[in-house]
Structure formats: C-alpha cells, structure tokens
Subunit: 500 residues, 2 copies
C-alpha cells in the first residue's frame, strides 16, 4: 500500500490503532477504581467503563492493520480524541452525581478533559467524589501526553499549518515509518512528562511540609500536577488555585510555563545542554510575550487599584497571564472583576498559546513568530522589491510555502473563532435572554483554543452548564477541532479525502 | 534617478504632487461657495479655505519634481489623504456651526468624508447649512474618485496585499511611468464615475417626478448621488435613506452595488462587452456573498418578527447588506434594534467589502476569494502532497507569493481591528462609564474599514461625537490607514524607508 493517495481510505487500519489506544485506557480506569476503593467511593463507574473500553478496544484492534497512510493518519488522530472523549464520559454518567450525569454535560466535561481545555460544567464541586475529580484530572494528564506525542511525532510531519517548523529530532518525512518513530518518541516524551509531574508533586508536598502551603494534601498535589504540566487546568477545588497559599501559587507558575515549552528543548536541557533552549528564537519570543503581557496587565491592575500590595499585583498578573497564555486556565482570583483593560490583556493572551511541541493549545508562539518575521520582511520588500530576504527561524531559512501555511492557519483560526462567536450569540438569543458579546467571545476562544475559563458567567469561578445544549454541543465539537489543530477535521470534510 | 531604492527618499517630489492635488481642491471649494450664495448662506468658510489651499498648493508645487519612485509613491499617497483631510476640516471650523467647530470633530468629519467612511460626529443635522452638508458629500465624492484612480493605477502596481490581482488594463510594472498612466486612467474612470453619479441623480429626480419619491429635491438627489456611487454614505438627512420612499430606497441599491464593482469591468460593460463582468470569478463571488448574507439576514428578520410585510423584509435586508457590505453605510431603518443574529450578519458583512478596483473599502471580495480558493487547495494538498494545483482566478494562475501577500493582508487587517477594539474599550473605561464590546467592535470596524455607522450609540441614527477625544483621534488615524490599504502607512514606519 505504498500509493496511499490513490486508494480508498483504509478505515480498518485507523480503527485498529484507535482500538489499541482504547485498550490502554483500561489501566487508568482501574487505577481510578483503586483510588475510589481507598476513599470508600463507588467502584462501578470506573470498573464498568474499564470492561467496556477493553471490549471495544480488543474488538477494534482485531481489524486488519496495514501501514499507516497519510489519510489514515488524519482519520486516526481525529477518531482517537473522539473515542477517548466518549469513553471518558461514561464514568460521569454511571456515577450519576450533580449535574454531570446528562449525556451532553458528561460529554462536555470529558471532551474538555481529554482536549486539555478545562472548561467545566460542574456547578457544585462537593457533589462529586474524589475519584470522579481524579478522573477529570487524569483525562487531562492523558490528553496532554497524547497531544505531546501526536504533536512531535505526527502533526509535525503532516505539515499542519507550519507545524513541521517545530524543533524536533527526527525530521523524516516518510509517513510510512510513523509507527516506530511514535513509539520511540513517545517513550522519551513520556519520561520527561512524568518527571515534570513528579517534580511538581514533590514541590507542593515540600511547601506543605515546611508550612508554606498548609492546605496541600497528597491528593491536591497529584490532581493539580496532572493538570498543570498538561496545561489543562481542571481543579478539584471550586476556587482553583485560589484555594492555596501564595507560595503554592508562585511555585505552580514554572510548571505551567514548562508544560508549554517545547519538550524536545526541555529534553536537551535535562541532558546538560541548555544552549538549544537559550538559542531558540521561539523560546525567546515566548518569554518576551509572557513578560510583555504580564507587564501590561500589572500596569492596568495598578491603574485600577485592584490590589493593595505589590506582591499581589506581581503574583496575580504573572500567574493569570502564564495560566491563560499557556492555555492552562487555573485562577488565583476571579479575574472577571478586573478592569476591562486588564481583562483584555488576558483575552489577547488567549490567542497566543505557548511553544509548539508542548502540551499547549491555541495558535502557538511558533506561528506568531513566523507571522511577525514575515510581516517585517514583507514591509522591507515593499521598498526593496528586488531584495532577497528569506524568513529565518533560529538561523534556518523557512520555505515560503510554509510561511503561507502559517498565515493560512492563523487566519483560519481567527475565522472559526469569529463564526463560533456569532453562533454562540445567536443561539443564546434564541434560547433565552441572550449573552454579552465579550462573554460569547471569551467562551468561544476558551473552548476552541482549549483554554478553559472565560469571562462573565463562564469565568474561572463560574461554569459552562448554563449555556443552551446546542451551544454546548458546538463547544464540544470545537474543543475537539481545536485540540487536533483544525486541519485533520477539515480534511475529513473534503470530497478528495473519501475518493478512492 | 533610476536606482530609487538606493537614495534618500525624495520628499520634494512627493510634496510637489500633493501640492498639485491641493491646488485642484480650489474648484470644488469655489463651487460650494456658489451653492452657499444660492442658499444665502455664508461664503467665507469655502472662499477662505479656497484661498488657503490654493496658496499651499502653489507653494508645494514649486518644489523640485523628479520621477516618482516607489518610496515617493507611498509617501505621496499617504500625504495626499492627510492633506485633503486637513483642508477639508477648515470650512467646518470657520462655519462654526453645531458641534463640528472643534479641531478634533472637524478633522474627524473631514477625514470620515475624504476616506469615504461616513461616520459622523454631527448630532443636530439642522444646525448646519446646506452648503456645509454639500461639502460633506463633496468630500466623499472626491475621496471616492481619488481612491478609484489610486487603486486602479497605483496600488495595483505597488503589490499591496495582492492588489495587483485586480482586473485592470495596464499591467505595466514600471513605476517610473506611473504619471502618464495615472492621467490616462483617471480620465476614463472619471467619466464613468461622473456618468454613474449623473444617472443616479436622474433616477431620483424621475422617481420624484412620477410621484414615487415626493420628498426628493434636486439637492437631495445630488448630495446622495455623491455619496452612493462613492460607497461613502454621508447624508444631509438625520434619517439617512429612511427619509425617502421605498421606491427611492430600492432604486439606490444598484448604485451602491455598482460603486463597489470593478470599474474596469464596468467600462467594458459600457462598451457593449458584458462578458468580462459575467466571466469574472470575483464578480460572481461578490454577488454570491451579497445574496447569501441577504438571505440569512432576511431569515433572521422573519424569525424575530421584526417586520410585518414581506416587502419590508426583502427591502431592508437587501438594502442594509448591500449598504454595509459595499461599505456605503446608508440606513433605511435603525438596525441597532434588530435581533443579535441579524445584526451579526451585518457585522460579518463589514469585513467583506466589494470588489477591488472600485470605490469600496474593507478587505474586498478579491482577497476573500483568493483565501477561500487557497484554503480549498491547501486541504486538497494535505491529502495529495505531491499534486500540483495552483490557485486560479478567472482562469489565470496566481503566483504563490501573491497568495501569501493576500493572507498577510487579511490577517494584518484582523489584527489591527482587534487592537483598535481593545484600545476603544480601554479608553472608554478610562474616560467614563465604559462601552459594550459589540459597540466597540462595531465602531472599530466601521471606522478602520471605512464603513461609517456601527451599532449601539454609534448606530446609523446615532453619531461618534460622544467618544472620548483620544478615541476619536485613533479613529481618525485608522480611517486614514484603512483607506489607503494599510501598507503605505506601515512602510513609512520602517527604518528601511528612511535610510538613504
Ligand atoms: K486548558
Ligand atoms: K462608507
């Protein structure tokens, strides 16, 4: 099957690979059941789902598996996230607690989990057991690892809006060799990811032990480590990070920041080679955007007398900018109450995202850096039309076709965001008293760009339960579309994809 | 001076050409003074300004004039619009009527005029004489003609975001030969433009004569013909087109539509050759977007029971979509009261604009068509990476560098729009009780994209006088930036432009 473009799309291979992923879901489900046992909570939601996913996984895996072609790669990526979202919703339905036990709400929460979005429909955090909250966090940790592997090993080779520019080791373009490359890369990334998670657990526990975070429990440390390193943002606490001491809040900032840093560069850092990180144009740009937006936010917070102490201004502005920009979505305060100017800095941060090749979502600093560099080059060429001046990234010349792909991706993201906002406004007016434009824009960006909390009633201390079911379904679809970088879904909608 | 890129920018040549334009402004000023004489209104505002502009024009024109280089072209385009805006504001200041007689308001109204925006700071329409209202209309008519000449003869050769794709006769790339080409093209376009204007005056007067538009006077017909064909939108009536009969409203739609149609294609139409228009991909796309958005708007108006008769739904939806999409900005009703869904269709229409090579503003259907075609091509190539499939426009292959320029232009427009919105919200919160997000977005789009009316208090029956002075200054700058297609201004901000 070497002429992959010429034949009918190979459903069996894609589904067989999805089956392998589903089978692997059994382990975290059984693990969560053990935690439920420890806390004397119902085991059935997790054990029943484990049996279900094992059966489905085994059945699908038995389908004929061939080499993975280009179209099968797109199909597999799209189906995997859908399948985990569906399986992930089952424990919420079986548990039957609070308002999670409706099909739409369960699927919303599960999709928000596995896409590392972190938008929640939970209204009453106490209505759910610790095992259910852990399952929410675990979905995000798995989703973060999954996107890391997909981003570094798969998307970078499918030329998704310039994703091939990200700094990786293997620049092989032979898509038929994806499978071994995935396994090798996944192992490396997995260790780094697990190591960062463990480091955060240790950090939180240490702060608790020395009296700087008296409210920290082992459960808190694990649940939050799962959702910080994955830049995902679910918290078992209704107050999110506001439930913890300033020291714990400060200590969490680096983990969100690192979760949104290119993991290949982090790997080099652990190998005693910090120069690749320091020399990366994208890393320096990422750092500059974070610090720039933090400075502006701090200035607007000072101007609006939001806080009395300078430590508060520094902590909340840095924490919220890092949280939103890295697409984590934790909150230390209810930033819905901030001044319009400060809120709009967070709104702008939503569209940045962290570095490519990490767990971050949104547009990513890689693409924005290419856009900025290309804009500058284009202006220069308006004056010197005959000058040859390619766009360079960390010294490497970027192909012009890739620059065009990056523009297309950023523009497409913007268009989808605008159309989603129009839908949200229209649907809210149809269903009830309507919604403010900024609230609709915030919720659209926060779901499609996989950030989580937005503004107004969908703020960090609010929830998404009150949206019309139709809007929630749109959010579910767009969390999925946004997480797998749009193109794999759009490709499925083209006639050329299905033509044999 | 053939190595134009190598030498210091030639201010003298640019300013000398601006001087010629300013000198020519004397004629419309004297013409308006004659109208003032007829209506027994003060002549001084126009005669004094005529003396001023004649003196300034003669002085500037005497500067050493050399061949027009690339950088001098950018400088001239940017300075010409600025200079006319400043001169155009003087009659408002001298007349001293209503709220136009402050420097910021006078400059806002004049810039809104010459950029064919149509956003007004006039609160009380009766406070101003007929001659002042005519001057508002005349500024727009001149601005429309100016942009037509600049767009077809100059911008299309400066590669402004793919502007060179527009269908024109002369595809010469020799910028040193611009001047004769401008004169020849300007004469042709001028006759067509004047002919369309005359046809609209005749149409309105005929409707008045046969009793279908009893309220139409010669003054109304002329003042509105000036601002319809230029897709500009000022009206001497506070109710805009709502002051006229349904027949007059229907009859005005084609003139806005034609004002936003490529004038080179219109020229072929007048030569008995309609096939170039009918075969134009862009024209068909333009028509499809107009009809599609009209259908959606009509459906939302029906759903919200906004009107009782089907003729009202058809007329108001078609009129408003054409008015906003072509960037004219007339209103037949206060669409601020429409349902959120219907209003958002108009909001989307703002970002379309009509065809390149016309008087329209905004992003233009040419660029959107390239974006749509390129998106489709890119998706096809995700599945068939080795396929060769260029983007074609009316059968012609488009260079990939031009596709990239189009993406860059659309993206840049979106970024400027977002940043302007953030500024408007922040400035409104600083200065007073703040502003709604949709109102801020509407006003930002309506000024930067040169449309005119927006939503909320800046709606078609509202005005822009109530914005903080700082916001009004930002609007003035961005009406100018938007009208001359952004790039000429950004180029002036690059160090490379000024380097000798
Ligand atoms: K998130
Ligand atoms: K206009």
């Amino acid at each position: 099957m070497s002429f992959v473009g010429e034949l009918r799309v190979d459903w069996a291979t894609s589904l067989s690979l999805v089956g392998t992923v589903l089978k692997a879901l059994t382990a975290p489900l059984v693990g969560t059941a053990l935690v439920a046992l420890w806390y004397r909570e119902p085991l059935v939601p997790f054990l029943a789902t484990a049996v279900l996913t094992l059966a489905a996984g085994l059945a699908l895996e038995r389908l004929d598996r061939d080499d993975l072609g280009l179209r099968e790669g797109f199909l597999m990526v799209a189906l995997t996230w859908l399948a985990i979202a569906v399986v992930g919703a089952v424990p919420f339905l079986i548990a039957g607690d609070g308002n999670l036990a409706t099909p739409v709400n369960a699927l919303f929460e599960s999709t928000s989990g596995v896409t590392t979005t972190g938008a929640t429909v939970v209204e009453n955090f106490d209505a759910h057991g610790r095992s259910v909250h852990l399952w929410r966090s675990l979905l995000q940790w798995m989703g973060g690892l999954g996107i890391l592997v997909i981003a570094v090993a798969v998307l970078s080779q499918l030329s998704i809006g310039g994703a091939q520019l990200m700094e990786t080791e293997s620049q092989t373009q032979d898509v038929n060799k994806l499978t071994p490359s995935i396994e090798e890369t996944a192992r490396l990334l997995g260790w780094l990811y697990a190591g960062l998670t463990g480091l955060m657990v240790a950090t939180w526990l240490t702060l608790g032990a020395v009296g700087l975070g008296p409210e920290v429990t082992l459960y808190d440390a694990v649940a939050h480590a799962f959702t910080a390193v994955s830049t995902a943002g679910f918290s078992p606490r209704a107050e999110s990070l506001g439930a913890f001491s300033p020291a714990v809040q400060w200590a969490t900032i680096p983990f969100m920041f690192l979760g949104a840093t290119n993991f290949v560069l982090l790997y080099h850092l652990t190998q005693g080679n910090p120069s690749r990180l320091a020399d990366s144009d994208e890393f320096r740009f990422y750092l500059a955007v974070v610090l720039g937006l933090t400075g502006l936010t701090a200035a607007f917070l000072v101007a609006s007398d939001q806080f009395t102490r300078i430590e508060q201004v520094a902590r909340h502005s840095l924490f919220q900018v890092v949280s939103i920009l890295t697409t984590t979505g934790y909150a230390t305060v209810d930033f819905v109450d901030w001044s319009p100017a400060a809120k709009h800095m967070l709104f702008l941060a939503m569209f940045s995202g962290g570095m490519a090749g990490s767990t971050t979502c949104s547009i990513k600093t890689l693409r924005w850096l290419v856009v900025v560099k290309s804009f500058r080059r284009d202006l220069f060429r308006e004056i010197h039309p005959d000058a040859i001046r390619p766009v360079r990234l960390s010294g490497q010349v970027i192909d012009e076709a890739v620059v065009r792909d990056v523009y297309a991706y950023v523009l497409l993201s913007g268009i989808i965001f605008v159309l989603l906002t129009v839908f949200v406004v229209t649907d809210a007016a149809r269903a009830g008293p309507g919604i403010g434009e900024f609230e609709a824009m915030g919720a659209s960006a926060a779901t499609f760009l996989n950030i989580g909390p937005a503004f107004g009633d969908a703020g960090p201390y609010g929830d998404y339960a009150w949206f019309p079911a139709t809007t929630k379904v749109a959010f579910i679809v767009l969390m999925w579309v946004g997480r797998i970088e749009i193109i794999p879904v759009l490709v499925l909608l083209t006639p050329a994809f299905w033509r044999s």
